[in-house]
Each structure stands twice: as structure tokens, then as C-alpha cells.
């Protein structure tokens, strides 16, 4: 357990009707508010919107939150979005946990009672986990300023030219003895019937 007492904010997203049509969002919010160390629990129609983000930012500043849970979509969709919100409010972005109540709940559970129950459990799990989060910092490294393009058909040639035009060296590797790929075999191309090479 970290030394500092956790002050957790929980935000339950409607995602328009994506979540709210199946999950009773108000009930989840009320439940989240009853969990230990949860200082504030709110809902928003689109938590990822600018207004939704600002709501979280304000709470971090005004209520002194040091942990944030968002119950919404997959972290593949918006984890980075909300981590940036934490960072912009001066909080380490790893003091954040997402509960996926869209892909894992509202899109797959048909019964509203069961869906709401599952959403509550996922929120409880996220709240329980986030207390143990630690601050982490990414490392930065330099980049070798050259690109490899594998395959010299239409796509490879286009990509190589775009990068080369920007001034970076490109290695264009092609298995065949000539570049051009299938394109070089074509007579004319639809719909304009212009030549392909």
C-alpha cells in the first residue's frame, strides 16, 4: 500500500447509447461512490470528449484526486487519451486504470440486470487495483534516421518516394531483379485507362 492515502475518482461513460442502452449507468456511479477511498463518482455522455476530459482535470485539481478510474471502452481505444488528461493535471499517467464496460459488457451482455452487475464488478476491480499503482516514467531514445521498405511494388515505391522526398535515406529491398511488382505487368489501369508504369 502506498504511503499517501488514495483519493480515487471514478468516471462511468455512457458512450452515447453504446453503454447506457444496456448498463444502468446511474446505478454503477452510485455503487462506485460507495467504494472505499472513492472521493467522487460521476458519469458523462462521452467521457472522451473535451468536456469529459475537462471534468476529470477539474476534479484532480479541486478535489486533490491521486488515482483515476474510467469505466468506458477498451484501453486500446482511449487509455492514452485519459493518461494524457492525468499528465496535463500534474498527475503521473500510470495512476490510472480503465474498466472496459463496452466491449466486455454492453456489447456482449444482453440482459440489463446482468450487464449492470458485471459493470459494477469491473469498476470495483479497477478501483481495487488502482490503489496499488506506482508512478512510472517512460524512457526516451534517439532514432536512427533511415527507413527500410520491404517490397518494391506500388506500395513500396510510393512509400520510399514519400520518405526520400522528405530528405531521409531509404533502403528499398525487392526480391525480384526489377522493381515494379505486379504493377509493371499491367497493361492499363481502371477507370482512366492510363498506363501503369
Amino acid at each position: 500500500m502506498p504511503n499517501e492515502e488514495p483519493r480515487i475518482g471514478v468516471y462511468v461513460c455512457h458512450c452515447g447509447l453504446n453503454i447506457a442502452a444496456t448498463v444502468n449507468v446511474d446505478e454503477v456511479v452510485q455503487y462506485a461512490g460507495s467504494l472505499p477511498n472513492v472521493v467522487v463518482a460521476r458519469s458523462h455522455r462521452y467521457t472522451c470528449s473535451e468536456a469529459g476530459q475537462e471534468m476529470i482535470r477539474q476534479d484532480i485539481r479541486q478535489l486533490g484526486l491521486n488515482r483515476v478510474v474510467v469505466a468506458s471502452c477498451s484501453p486500446r481505444m482511449h487509455e492514452a487519451t485519459f493518461q494524457n488528461v492525468l499528465a496535463s493535471a500534474g498527475l503521473n499517467p500510470y495512476f490510472f486504470q480503465m474498466a472496459n464496460i463496452r466491449e466486455h459488457v454492453s456489447w456482449v451482455v444482453k440482459d440489463p440486470v446482468q450487464a449492470t452487475e458485471k459493470a459494477k464488478r469491473l469498476v470495483r476491480a479497477a478501483v481495487s487495483r488502482v490503489r496499488y499503482h506506482e508512478p512510472l516514467s517512460p524512457r526516451r531514445e534517439d532514432v536512427t534516421k533511415a527507413a527500410l521498405v520491404v517490397g518494391a511494388g506500388i506500395a513500396g515505391i510510393q512509400a520510399a518516394l514519400t520518405i526520400a522526398e522528405a530528405g531521409y535515406p531509404v533502403y528499398l529491398v525487392e526480391k525480384q531483379p526489377s522493381i515494379g511488382g505486379h504493377m509493371a505487368q499491367l497493361d492499363k489501369t481502371f477507370p482512366t485507362l492510363d498506363c501503369s508504369t
Binding site: R76, Y94, R121, R124, A125, A126, V127, S128, R129, R131, Y132, L136, S137, P138, R140, E141, D142, V143, T144, A146, A147, L148, V150, G151, A152, G153, I154, A155, G156, I157, Q158, A159, A160, L161, T162, I163, A164, E165, A166, Y168, Y171, L172, E174, K175, Q176, P177, S178, I179, G180, G181, H182, M183, A184, Q185, D187, F190, P191, T192, L193, T197
Partner: protein, 453 residues
């Protein structure tokens, strides 16, 4: 093509394949194997004298003409249109290289003494910050659907062979002729060969409808033959495509709605196409003297190898998996490796160009930013606890763990580690910890999830 061949910032490595990739975003080390051409490219002018002189007159099927012509062992690729314009000696066909017996007429014929039979394959090592995979597609082999009788008559050809017939650089200098050397009078064009077919590929290849319409136009334009298109639906989705479809309809092409069911080659060589006309609800049988099978686009046959080498996943159809179908359509799950073109999914030319340019812009963003941010959610070894057993090193799928021989402990390279946790679970001394997936974090989550309130 010419622009790419001449650009001062582009180094062309043709006749070459990537054999090994290591490193991570911003710092990839790549090994490329370049096959010997047996031609000194600094001296070769691409004049083609070696090809003229090559004594292997019978030759081998010319891949550029999709097997419709033959080429010799010494040749200029792409029927003389190669970029770079340099000769190659095919070591699978050359009489000297395969049997050690040849008069080596090519050496005599070369005006610049460019032929060099002592060339060996070379391994070239490259350091790059980003990789774009643009390995393309292969055409479906219609032999896999025997009902279409591909291979049973020289006048049953696939779409790519038709392209070569119609091309000015092809075996007939662009004349559309049957195997008897005559203009065809009736041509059948069969859509969806290998696409939208549970016996082959379930997906739509996206380009076949439009190239089939183009073929119909070319046949009408060049030969005046009657053209019958056997189709299920016409998918003319792109800009100006519907208009092109209407134009081809106005050119007098007969559209028969129904998948071409069977192509029969009779004993006298006569070719008959059987189908159901689903608009009229009647079976149709049409005698033709040329059939064009409009074949599907498929993932390249070595996709498994390529996917493993670059750390790229594959989707159910076999094409490479993008990180997100809408938001990250050219990213992969390996940072710094991007997908461009049809290796990701079937695409027509405009979509391929757009996809590739967009992938290049992602790669450029990485190069011009000049630094990468390495995620801190990696494994970390507690060197006090590590017993030096090396169990983790063999298990790591990303080769991210090395052994410090002096300190006798394992160390994790944070730039390579993806935080998968394999080593954490395997370590017998419990010396490895996964940052952000620590035991107390996961156990707290699970307990709250599973214990009833």
C-alpha cells in the same frame, strides 16, 4: 518506377531478401541477402547482348509474361523494361551454373565485360529507425478450382495473363489473340474466381470487378468480339468506377448475373461456359473461344515467414494484421513497423497509393521527431534475488534478456521488453517483477472481481 530508381535518397537492393531483423523502434538492425546476378552492375549497360547470345534457346517460362512466353538464362528482366536496367543470369536455368557445361557465349558477347561467374551472394547489414512492410500479394492459382478447367486449354487464361496479352511489351505486342493466332469472336469473362467462394477465399478481392470491366472494354475495343461477363454483383465502389461500369455496358458487353459454374473443354477443343442466369432463372451454356478467369488476390505464400521476422500478426484471411482497422490501419503491434498496400488487405491502385503514402507519413513522423518513447511497463530483475539460472533467457519471445557474466545475473533490455510477463511467471527465484502488472496489483483486481460484495 523510374523516379524510385533514380532518387538520390533511395538505395535499391534488388534480387534481395531480408533474412534477419533485430532491435526495436528507432534502432533496427537488418540483414539483407543479395543473390548474385553474375553480372557486374557497374559495367552492365542493359544492352541485352548477353540475352541474344545465350545458347539456352529453349529457355524457361518467362515469369513477367505469366508463362505466356519463354526467356533464356541470361536476360533483361521485365522484357527489357527493368529498373534497374541490368541483365541477370538465372542460376536455376544457366547451363554453365547448373551443369558446368556451356560455351559461355554471353561472356564473349558482352561489350563491357560485365559477366562475372565468380559472384557470390552477399549479406548486407543495415541500421534503420523504421520499417515499412510492402510485400504485396499473389494471384490465386485457378488450378485449385478444377471446374474452371484452367490448364486444359491454352485459351483459358487468368487475368494476369490477359494483361500480358494486351500489353505492348507482351508476347503478342498487345494484340489479343487466341492460341491459333486469331482474334477471338466470343470471350467469356468470369468474376470472383477464388473470391467470395467458401472453397477458396470468403473475402471479396475488391479489384476483380473493375479489372474484369477493363478487360471487357479492351476486348471490345481491340477485337470487336462479343463479351459475356459472368458476375454475382458488380462492386464499382470507387471514384468514377460506376461511370466506367456504365461506359462498358454502353460498349455492348453482355452481363450475365450468376457465378460461372463450369468451363468445359470438349474433345475437339471447343470451350463452353455453363452458368445460371439468376436474373432470368434459367441455366445458360455459351460456346466461346477465349475464357478469362478473373482471379482473387491472396496473401503472399511466404507471409508466415515475413510475419514472424517483422513481428507482425495475421488476420483470419491471412493478410497482415493492422493495429486497429480504422484508427491505426497502417500500424502493427510492433512499434516502428508499418504496413503499406495489399499485404494488409486487397486494394486497388488508388487505395494502395493512399495507404502507402499514409504509412510513409507515420514513419516520417517517427524519423523527424528524432526520439522514441519507450514504455516503462517492462519486466525488471531484482539482482539480489536472481540466481543466474538463465531460465528466463530462453523463454523470452523478444530476446530482451541478456546474461551479465560478471555479475552472474539476468538483465532486461527495456527497449526490447514488451512486458508480456513470461519471464515473471517462469522465474523460479521470483526475482522478476512486471512493472504495472505487479502481483499485488493483479491480485487486488482479481479479488475484487471474484469475491461477492
Amino acid at each position: 518506377m523510374m523516379d524510385a530508381g533514380r532518387h538520390p535518397n533511395i538505395t535499391l537492393l534488388t534480387y534481395s531478401e531480408v533474412t534477419e531483423v533485430s532491435g526495436y523502434v528507432g534502432h533496427f538492425q537488418v540483414k539483407v541477402r543479395q543473390r548474385p546476378r553474375y553480372v557486374n552492375t557497374d559495367l552492365c549497360t542493359g544492352c541485352g547482348a548477353c540475352a541474344e547470345a545465350c545458347v539456352f534457346k529453349r529457355g524457361v517460362p518467362n515469369e513477367y509474361d505469366a508463362g505466356l512466353s519463354r526467356r533464356r538464362a541470361a536476360y533483361i528482366p521485365n522484357n527489357g523494361q527493368a529498373v534497374p536496367l541490368k541483365a541477370v543470369i538465372d542460376d536455376q536455368a544457366c547451363l554453365f551454373l547448373t551443369r558446368g557445361k556451356c560455351t559461355k557465349a554471353c561472356v564473349e558477347a558482352c561489350p563491357t565485360n560485365a559477366i562475372d561467374f565468380t559472384q557470390k551472394e552477399q549479406i548486407i547489414e543495415l541500421n534503420v529507425g523504421t520499417i515499412l512492410v510492402a510485400t504485396g500479394f499473389e494471384m490465386f492459382d485457378p488450378r485449385r478450382l478444377p471446374a474452371y478447367s484452367y490448364g486444359k486449354s491454352p485459351d483459358i487464361i487468368d487475368g494476369l495473363q490477359f494483361e500480358r496479352l494486351s500489353s505492348a511489351t507482351g508476347p503478342t505486342q498487345g494484340q489479343i489473340l487466341t492460341s491459333k493466332g486469331e482474334k477471338p469472336r466470343r470471350v467469356a469473362i468470369i468474376h470472383c474466381v477464388g473470391s467470395r467462394d467458401e472453397h477458396a477465399n470468403r473475402y471479396c478481392s475488391r479489384i476483380c470487378c473493375m479489372y474484369a470491366l477493363k478487360h471487357a472494354h479492351l476486348v471490345r475495343d481491340k477485337t470487336g468480339a462479343e463479351v459475356f461477363e459472368f458476375y454475382m454483383d458488380i462492386r464499382a465502389f470507387g471514384k468514377d468506377y460506376e461511370e466506367f461500369y456504365q461506359r462498358v455496358q454502353e460498349e455492348g458487353v453482355y452481363f450475365v448475373r450468376g457465378r460461372g459454374a463450369e468451363v468445359v473443354v470438349h474433345n475437339d477443343g471447343r470451350i463452353q461456359v455453363k452458368a445460371e442466369n439468376t436474373t432470368l432463372g434459367i441455366p445458360v451454356e455459351i460456346d466461346v473461344d477465349m475464357v478469362i478467369l478473373e482471379t482473387a488476390i491472396e496473401p503472399a505464400r511466404d507471409s508466415d515467414k515475413v510475419a514472424a521476422m517483422f513481428g507482425v500478426g495475421r488476420s483470419a484471411s491471412g493478410f497482415f494484421q493492422e493495429a486497429h482497422p480504422k484508427l491505426r490501419p497502417f500500424h502493427t503491434n510492433t512499434n516502428g513497423v508499418f504496413l503499406a498496400g495489399t499485404c494488409q488487405a486487397p486494394k486497388d491502385v488508388p487505395d494502395t497509393v493512399a495507404h502507402a503514402a499514409a504509412a510513409a507519413s507515420e514513419a516520417l513522423a517517427l524519423l523527424s521527431r528524432g526520439e522514441v518513447i519507450i514504455s516503462p511497463t517492462t519486466a525488471v530483475v531484482d539482482e539480489e534475488l536472481c540466481s543466474g539460472c538463465k531460465t528466463c533467457i530462453a523463454l523470452c519471445p523478444y530476446s530482451a534478456i541478456t546474461f551479465d557474466e560478471t555479475a552472474r545475473v539476468a538483465r532486461v533490455n527495456e527497449a526490447l521488453c514488451k512486458g508480456c510477463g513470461t519471464c515473471v511467471a517462469a522465474c523460479p527465484a521470483e526475482a522478476i517483477r512486471a512493472r504495472h502488472f505487479a502481483d499485488e496489483q493483479i491480485l487486488a483486481e482479481l479479488q475484487a472481481l471474484l469475491v461477492s460484495a
